[in-house]
Assembly symmetry: C2
Homo-oligomer: 257 residues x 2
Amino acid sequence: GAASYGTSSGSVSKLIFRQLFEKESSTYTYLLADASHPDKPALLVDPVDKTVDRDLSLVKELGLKLIYAINTHVHADHVTGTGLIKSKVPGVKSIISKASNAKADLFVEPGDKICFGDLFLEVRATPGHTQGCVTYVTGDGPNQPQPRMAFTGDALLIRGCGRTDFQGGSSEQLYKSVHSQIFSLPKDTLVYPAHDYKGFTVSTVGEEMQYNPRLTKDEETFKNIMANLNLSYPKMIDVAVPANMVCGLQDVESKAA
Amino acid sequence: GAASYGTSSGSVSKLIFRQLFEKESSTYTYLLADASHPDKPALLVDPVDKTVDRDLSLVKELGLKLIYAINTHVHADHVTGTGLIKSKVPGVKSIISKASNAKADLFVEPGDKICFGDLFLEVRATPGHTQGCVTYVTGDGPNQPQPRMAFTGDALLIRGCGRTDFQGGSSEQLYKSVHSQIFSLPKDTLVYPAHDYKGFTVSTVGEEMQYNPRLTKDEETFKNIMANLNLSYPKMIDVAVPANMVCGLQDVESKAA
Ligand SMILES: [Fe+2]
Ligand SMILES: [Fe+2]
């Protein structure tokens, strides 16, 4: 990930941006902050419990004020870091979509904006991998990052997409979500997924529209592909989903009970 | 890694940029290309043999013309992809420093420029991890990427540095190299290392000057730290170094012999 971006209009976006990788679950966590604001307000997208200390030291070293810990969806392959972050940094609010039915401090719906300083993420509903999946897209405007950036969770992966056979998944819904909510973005929009298993770090909307082996197909073919993946049962799902439904705070809650 | 960069002067750099990860050796490979040139000339920094097919498909999909496969140094932990790339894409030239004493098509020395389209990498000598280590830095100029990017190999890692106990390494030399050749760059220069083991993807010169746990120390302390790392013998070194001394072409050569 790059540290900062310029805009093609000549003004410079004040985004501080870092992409962080958790090897065991191949998860990407993203740190975004507005460097132009005196507080340098920051948010983390899809933090992982195991790498919370790494992420929080980086936040501290960069002089940022973490205000939000956000999830794209209820993950089945790792425990979210949001609960742990909240216990370590008082004042941080956790965010997830209302459609996920999970616990969090704040719930977002399609069209909502998550503001940090003068920058913001726009919420787009992209269900299909899970019923509550959303994609967070950087703002469209003169002082927002250019090109735009889409944090697609597991809805759209680089040359792939998330499975649709658990957590209220639906291949029909996922197809519609990606085509209407992600492929409708400008082609140079940077695609930052929740995972990558082949070592890719970023793609673009244009690239996925042209080369995604699943989502370039017609809807029927896509549904057939998704119905015949023959994937094994997600090995972390029985631990991760209950934890993530309560924001990774299951231990804190059970200790308190 | 980000796909493209704007410049703070208002003109837009035409750099296409991708950071790629090889999990087994935790190696980063970097793809750079000039999108403004009709051929879209491209180069790969530190390609790994195991991920050559992934890298070459990406080159093809992005419509780039690969002209150079470059190494920062003779790696001891993985076999370079340069030989394999040359066998798969005729016309690609391999590049390494003259000081490495390794085989390649082209040898670079400090101050040399490696041009691809209107963009270029500048060669800086940063010995100490190995005798032949160099850092490749994007150009300084109105149409070059802003902020600048430094591909530091194992000379400077994020919050770390390469070991100095093999391959003509010297902690004294490494200390001088990093301070004189890397820490002298603008503070916002992006640091892209050859490896990361903690999931970081990028840092900046300013950040490493402030937070690198080794290189912020005085030279004597640094030398003591490096002398007392108690690292085990590099497990790939006896395979990787002989291969990398001949550009990863050991098999081709032995078959031809
Ligand atoms: Fe998921
Ligand atoms: Fe090395």
